[in-house]
Amino acid sequence: MIDATEELLTGWGNTAPSLARVERPRTGSEVEEAFEDMTGPMIPRGLGRSYGDAAQCAGGTVVSNRGLWHLSPIDPETGLVTLGAGVSLEELLAVSIPAGYFVPVTPGTRQVTIGGAIGADIHGKNHHVDGSFTKHVTSMTLATPTGVVTLTQKSDPELFWATAGGMGLTGIITQATLQMIPITTSYVTVDTERFNDLDGVMNAMLSGDDDYRYSVAWVDCMTSGPKMGRGVLTRGDHAPRSALSGRSARKPLVAPSSSMLTVPFTPPSGLLNRLSITAFNEAWFRKAPQRRDGEIQSLGSFFHPLDGVSWWNRLHGHRGFLQYQFVVDDAHGEVIRQAIEVLSAASVPSFLAVLKRFGPADPGPLSFPLKGWTLALDMPIGPPQLADVLDQLDIMVAEAGGRIYLAKDSRLSPELLRAMYPDVQKLEEVRKRIDPKGVLASDLSRRLGLS
């Protein structure tokens, strides 16, 4: 018997809850069992770190991948590791770092599963160099309504790439083999630069990012006028042993520890408002050095600064929050500035926005990255103008040939999805083949009219 309960689920943004039967299969054959006699709707779920409704299925079945937990040792010859889709990056790093391996791509939190990493084809600060997550997956096992398949990038490229960023809509990944990267220390050498305006940040990224494996800028979207888009750029690479001294030199490979603090309950909405966010952004900007080179930071503080406090999403109150993340190509870099201007003119409060450069796209029809610029902004639900302002941004982004990230989305319209992801039919064709009865569906797929 598969363990199951009824649960009210949301994504990380705590919006639009829906009730589903959550099943927790522990083996591949239990996953197959879950598909038996299933008329749908049904969708897999990892740690629920996507912000919106991607891993929800109102009135249907949500299959948690967390029971699919096995982890074989990393092959010392090849750096390949085979693991269950429910293993989180934190759990993988806990064993891989001491063995001298890091994940090829990590998002801003370690609390994501392998299934979720492929399902959203996640990107990290190294996309401009290394591409997104699924590129580093050499094979995966996928349970679909019409059977179980082992996929490589060559065996069935349509299904493989439709699954990359396919938001669980092609089936349930049960295990994957991942190409890890060798490291000699669990530290990063970091160069930090502070800029007083957006042009400064963007020019520095255009001219210098190629020299760094990892790069990200934090941009202040709440200051208008000449200081609009002022920001702090941090770039780095894995530190060699020779860069370490003292205690870290004696223990060069330490896995990051799990978070120490928890936000225990949800305070009233409005705690994080325009005033408090402006004050936070100001303090944060002033804290950054004008320029500092070669600082040694731990992997955890460089890649996952927010993981120090668990459930920080609760700080946004019971109304919840959302993240707006879009990408535009290099020819439309001005959309980054326009978007910040629109938000600041509409007085939409937003925490520091994250600006990154992307390298070339994957073949995945729903995979998000495109070569160019991506901007991500967190904002609380509440300002009455927010829904309209974001609809306006959607149009700007779509007209520039850009798109928004479905792992963060909770409000895009079906029409603009099709404008932003012109290859979506390829996914729908694959779905007709492997899921002719249309069992796989999420709140997101139904909201966006994906068939």
């Binding site: 639009a16 829906s18 109102a58 009135g59 409000r411």
Partner: protein, 254 residues
Amino acid sequence: MRNAFGQPQTVLVLGGTSEIAHHVVLQLVRERTTTVVLAGRDKGRLEDAASELREAGATTVETITFDASDPSTAGATIDDAFHAAGGPIDLVLLAVGQLGDQDISDNDPVATIKLFDVNLTWPAAALAALRGRLISQGMGHVAVFSSVAGVRVRRANFTYGATKAGLDALAQGFGDSVRSSGIKVQIVRPGFVRTKMTQGLSEAPFTTDVDQAAETIVKGLSSSATVIWSPPVLQGVFFIMKNLPGFLWRRLPG
């Protein structure tokens, strides 16, 4: 599916010729709503409302008829509505109701029964029929159109006021009972709104146009308020009204 702002894609209007509800849906169609099911008594007027919604951009508008003076039709109407929607319904506007005529219901038991049937018994039966449907679809949002007339009942329309007071209380309890299933229930308490229903009546203070009322209600629908007052100032006004001693209340006009 509704989105993070609570904007619905599929809407069911029970009382599909209600002017306030119609204007609410017209605004929702400008946001994310594409499918609307209108259920009401008068086929012709439903069709008029439907074509207006299609013109405003709705892609699928279905109409179904029922007679609220026969509460035994409520269950079948809800079944028909879900069938017509062809999938989950994100938002139900329960806007069935008649103003009645106090001069008649004062002395007429049959007219009194009819007003209670239309304004309270049919809606109560409809909520009972909706409950299981909403729980099994895993999400949902119901806005029950009550009235400030039920907050403190006036002698000028006490039968109407009493039906709304009953509906208001029912909606509050219904909402509490489905909350943990992820279903949001809100009570809409409009004041005097200029519509066909109120034509010829003398206007109360804080009277609004139907557009204004609809705008306030649409804003309220995406909030977490359990009661939507339209206009919002009535919340304060009725807090005072409710707490006035009886001898003062009776001295107020009508």
